[in-house]
Amino acid sequence: MALDRWIAIIFLLISLVYGYAAFNYPLLPFERNMSFLPNTMPMVLSVLGVIVALVIILSPKAAEDKDGLGEIGLAQIKEFKIAQALGLVGAMVLYALLLRPIGFVSATTLFIVGTSVILGERKFHLLLPIAVVTAGVIWYLVQETLGIFLRPWPAFLS
């Protein structure tokens, strides 16, 4: 089955779960007398979501849409560098988890170096200085000039 039918099925499930949460929403005592409840719109949206998802799942297969990404077939997906993309996403998750513990400058430097290496960059003599300078400049801009707090170094250093 085409990918878009699978996605529509997933959205159908999401709408059903959302609808369950909406219909069983615990109302606060004073909200029960209001004309428009906190779960009115969610209920409507969940019903609409189920209907539209069903329309997509049950509609006959339309002609292929040639523009945009619809032209990507299964053969092309095998050529995709999925490992690199997953590596990048993993790097982002790692960055999120390490940002607070090891500080902004170190985390950013590691992130930029790591992602460039995943993409195939090997000129470390160019890469490391650029990463450090970028991290430093952005930190300076954000912390000093704009006043938004970003801890630069790991907690045990400052």
């Binding site: 969610p42 539209v52 560098k81 940002l99 992130f111 992602t115 707090f149």
Partner: protein, 512 residues
């Protein structure tokens, strides 16, 4: 009024104040390019700097320069890397980014700069012509009319419902509306649908969603398919394509004219701002365009780029009307400017024009001067800004990823946002491969909150839904909204029927 204008000109054109405008524009442009820092945050950050200047007129002039600079800077990241950092520049990326991918980044940035300038200038002219009259009209708009305006804004999704994609665009809009209900909204006290995660209590952040939906799938697609980042590489065509030709200027002139007025009027209404104005501008222009010009929208049409840019600048100017004439802030940014005014010992209100005319007129003239300065400063910078795209891929992609991470982090100062960003980014990439249009999701998300709040308020006030047909303003706006949604489908059906009739006449068999 003429002497007021002279007073304003003499104040605004002094050397110190011109220096203030230039400084403000530069700071605003550069900081506006970073996603996550929109005009609101930048002006809030610059208030202490502005206050230390001392003279209220000079301080306001600098803040106005920062405001316009930030709006232009936001369009830059939207056009170059499909990372709209401010809600008002999302519509710019619909046609701006495809143009950049075709190698016309310089031209796209020029068109953005020129349409912003025209929108802002016409807005300023309308401002000092009609400010007091408009203010009294703006107060007549109630929640019912705002609700109808949001529905009209949602009709902009029709622009993404290409052949066969209507249901998919609708589904994405509904998902966006669902995501807008997560968290605490203004009218409902308990958190909704947060699944116990405390970080979701204020809902999804707009910047996180915009980055995850626009910037991340693009970056990941560039990684997955290395040939993609080589398309649109145009170091040779770059400098030639910067200036817009006379033919193109003639094409976008009526668009600019219409959208300046429409954007300004939308901006005058308190609460509706650059976001709605840009979406509506895009939708209206797309509906007005005929035939193959309409097909161009979404693929790099210059009209599709000029319309939201003009509208959002005009709306930003329009949002000054309630502030200057009534002392009521019309948008988040003007609320912060109101704070700045109070800190500078100026009492905004209906008497501002009479008691402190030099400030009133200086602000208005400085908005015009700011527009001119922005154009003069930015047009020469465009070739260098556009060269960002020529950075080697191994550095560009990490920087784009870092950009998006930082934008989300700065917004909420919360590492959970980054995890949400990564997760939603992966989902958005998969959804894009399945040929679902993602822009309606963001439109639904942005408008969903306001739509629900205003609808709830209107229903609770009138104890029922009858306000939709009893208030003439609401009824008219809703009919316009429905029309904008169904007009393209009806037109397409008519064109299809016409073609079938022609084919039948020529004796060509149907269905081949």
């Amino acid at each position: 009024m003429f002497e007021g204008l002279m007073l304003g000109l003499s104040t605004a054109l002094s050397v110190q104040n011109i220096a203030m405008v230039v400084a403000g524009c530069l700071i605003g442009t550069f900081i506006g390019m970073l996603p996550g820092l929109g005009p609101m945050s930048i002006i809030a950050i610059m208030i202490p700097v502005a206050i230390s200047v001392g003279d209220p007129a000079a301080a306001l002039i600098m803040l106005a320069g920062v405001y316009y600079g930030a709006i232009f800077g936001g369009s830059t990241s939207s056009i170059l890397i499909n990372a709209p950092g401010v809600a008002g520049t999302v519509a710019t990326s619909f046609d701006g980014y495809p143009m950049a991918r075709k190698g016309l980044a310089g031209k796209a940035l020029s068109i953005a700069a020129i349409s912003s300038f025209c929108g802002g200038t016409i807005g300023v002219i309308l401002l000092f012509g009609f400010a007091p009259a408009l203010a009294s009209v703006a107060l007549l708009f109630h929640s019912a009319e705002y609700f109808a305006l949001m529905v009209v804004g949602l009709s902009a999704i029709a622009a993404f419902a290409g052949t066969g994609k209507v249901a998919k665009a609708l589904l994405m809009t509904i998902v966006g509306l669902m995501m807008a209900t997560v968290g605490e909204s203004a009218l409902f006290n308990a958190p909704r649908f947060t699944m116990g995660i405390q970080d979701l209590q204020s809902g999804f952040s707009f910047v996180t969603l915009a980055m995850a939906i626009f910037a991340l799938p693009e970056a990941l697609h560039m990684v997955l398919d290395p040939r993609r980042s080589n398309r649109g590489d145009s170091t040779s065509g770059e400098i030639k394509n910067l200036m817009i030709t006379k033919h193109e200027a003639k094409k976008i002139a009526p668009v600019i004219g219409r959208q300046s007025i429409q954007g300004f009027l939308i901006g005058v209404m308190p609460g509706a701002g650059a976001t709605i104005a840009s979406f509506l501008g895009y939708a209206v222009e797309r509906n007005i365009a005929k035939g193959e010009e309409q097909e161009e929208f979404g693929k790099g049409s210059i009209k599709g780029l000029a319309a939201p840019e003009t509208a959002n600048n005009a709306a930003c100017t329009g949002s000054f009307v309630p502030l200057l004439t009534l002392g009521i802030p019309g948008s988040g940014t003007t609320a912060i400017l109101l704070g700045a005014l109070i800190a500078l010992n100026v009492a905004p209100g209906p008497r501002l024009m009479i008691d402190r005319p030099e400030i009133f007129w200086a602000v208005i003239v400085s908005m015009y001067v700011g527009n001119v300065v922005l154009l003069i400063l930015n047009l020469p910078l465009i070739p260098y800004i556009a060269k960002v795209l020529a950075v080697p891929r191994n550095y560009l992609i990490p920087f784009i990823l870092f950009f998006t991470l930082m934008g989300s982090y700065i917004g909420q100062n919360n590492a959970t946002e980054l995890l949400i960003l990564a997760g939603l980014g992966v989902c958005a990439t998969i959804i894009r491969f399945a040929d679902y249009p993602l822009a309606p999701l963001l439109i639904g998300f942005i408008l969903g909150g306001m739509l629900e709040d205003n609808f709830a308020r209107a229903v609770n006030i009138t104890d029922g839904v009858s306000f939709m047909w009893q208030r003439p303003g609401t009824l008219i706006l809703l009919i316009v909204g429905m029309g904008l949604i169904f007009l393209p489908a009806w037109r397409r059906r008519r064109a299809f029927a016409r073609e079938r009739a022609k084919a039948r006449q020529k004796g060509v068999a149907e269905g081949d």
